[in-house]
Symmetry: C3
Subunit: 199 residues, 3 copies
């Protein structure tokens, strides 16, 4: 499981970096701005989680691999910026996988810190979703998360599935099920344009 989840996490970081970089390119930021938005989108959720539970220095500061992966991804995305939209389906898959794994990582960190299960699900959702919230806020948009995308809902349902599965199966199996649940809900939501009701 370890190496599988490590690979998926890297794919998730790459997908989130590309999503931030592409958003920044649309806003006509300069070269530095595009990198920093890509970076914040990728590590923002995990950083907020680490700050909230007091796990400092935050993760990306303790592991130089993450910043390197993000930097390389930014450079390649900028270089291939006119072709990125051909990869739409691939990106969606990575993004959904990343969302699922980030959510599970967040929940596990919460359980390790001895927090209430409901708080752990909140931490997982923050890990998966708040990089995008920071991206949108810095780019002067109302976060898409609050408006029409099924992101958080997927994390919450996947989190409930994870905690339920932990009662009956081993940790790696529960993790895999949770990632698949989050990922499937996210992909189906995009495919069938599911939305939460607006009030």
């Amino acid at each position: 499981m370890l190496s599988f989840s490590a690979i998926v996490e890297i794919l998730g970081i790459i997908a989130f970096t590309i999503s931030g970089t592409v958003s920044a390119l649309h806003k006509k930021l300069d070269l530095f701005g595009v990198h920093i938005i890509g970076f914040i989108t990728a590590i923002g959720g995990g950083t907020i989680r680490d700050i909230l539970i007091g796990a400092t220095p935050v993760s990306w500061m303790r592991d130089i691999n993450t910043p390197v992966i993000i930097l390389v991804t930014c450079v390649i995305t900028i270089w291939l910026r006119h072709y990125v939209h051909y990869l739409k389906t691939t990106l969606l898959l990575f993004d959904a996988l990343g969302l699922g794994l980030f959510a599970v990582i967040g929940i596990k960190k919460g359980l390790d810190a001895g927090l209430h299960p409901a708080i752990c699900i909140a931490l997982g959702t923050i890990t998966g979703c708040f990089g995008g919230v920071l991206r949108d806020t810095l780019l002067k948009e109302i976060p898409v998360l609050f408006q029409k995308e099924i992101y958080a809902t997927a994390c919450i349902i996947g989190g409930l599935a994870y905690l339920a599965c932990l009662q009956v199966v081993s940790v790696p199996v529960a993790e895999s099920i949770a990632v698949i649940v989050v990922c499937s809900i996210r992909i189906l939501a995009v495919k069938y344009q599911w939305k939460l009701p607006s009030l």
Copy 2:
């Protein structure tokens, strides 16, 4: 005092949640977005305070009651959203009481951490006011706190009153006086439309 202040704190959380939820409803967010803005408005100030002084995991993660109260308040507010404006005066009272108690809680945490009295007043003001700053920033508004409302000024004057009273009366009496000061200034400011000068 304990049970009195606990009740007032709950009323304050409820009032802040309602204020965030109502703002979010005006922005046509989806169902998740409305809840999350209600949540952030209620716990944002205390969360920033805890992060600044290093009291992690932050308060709402250690006490499941707060998230439950917020969730229930959000659901009821959304359900009764067409009637909320009839409660304007009641809400103002809760909001002012909450502001006062949040300010006092913030100051006490600062004193416990051994910080300078002026810093403690700043912490109290952050606790009372910065949930609203986060709400406005996420909803793409310049925070109302910076523009025309007497919120922070009430917290600062109440904080000075608290520290002064501590020299001559017992802690619960000083707390009560501070809450009454903050609350009165806030209510009078709304009633008589007091504003700080704009430059």
Copy 3:
């Protein structure tokens, strides 16, 4: 070096406070809003740095001198607001000196925390630049840092110079060189309107 760098840091704080206060004055905030934006611009970068590495309570809470300097600067800036633009060149010099010293302070805190050199440079850049990011976000602007100003680039090059110099000269000499590098790049960038390419 100590007293020199302490003086430069104070000048940097003053310059950053003035820059925040002047931005806030343009947005027609109230008296409190102007002060708070001045304050956040001056201490925002260092606060985010301290939170990321877990150095809490954050610096300005442990040293009452910083808030006092900021408050006095705000009051004077507001009082002399019609004359501030005559000081443009002086302010640019302070601002550039402050940027250089803030960047070096951030890098040193990272090295003290045992972080990777690349992460230390990121910390220095955050210390120098993110007060301005918070200022712009709260004033509902896309941060100028991401758009057209050579701020971060100056910090990164100065940081590289600092780490390189540390291999061959003493700490105070390396610090002075780094501050001069950041400062010169920033001043030249303003004078010759250098910009990073927009994509």
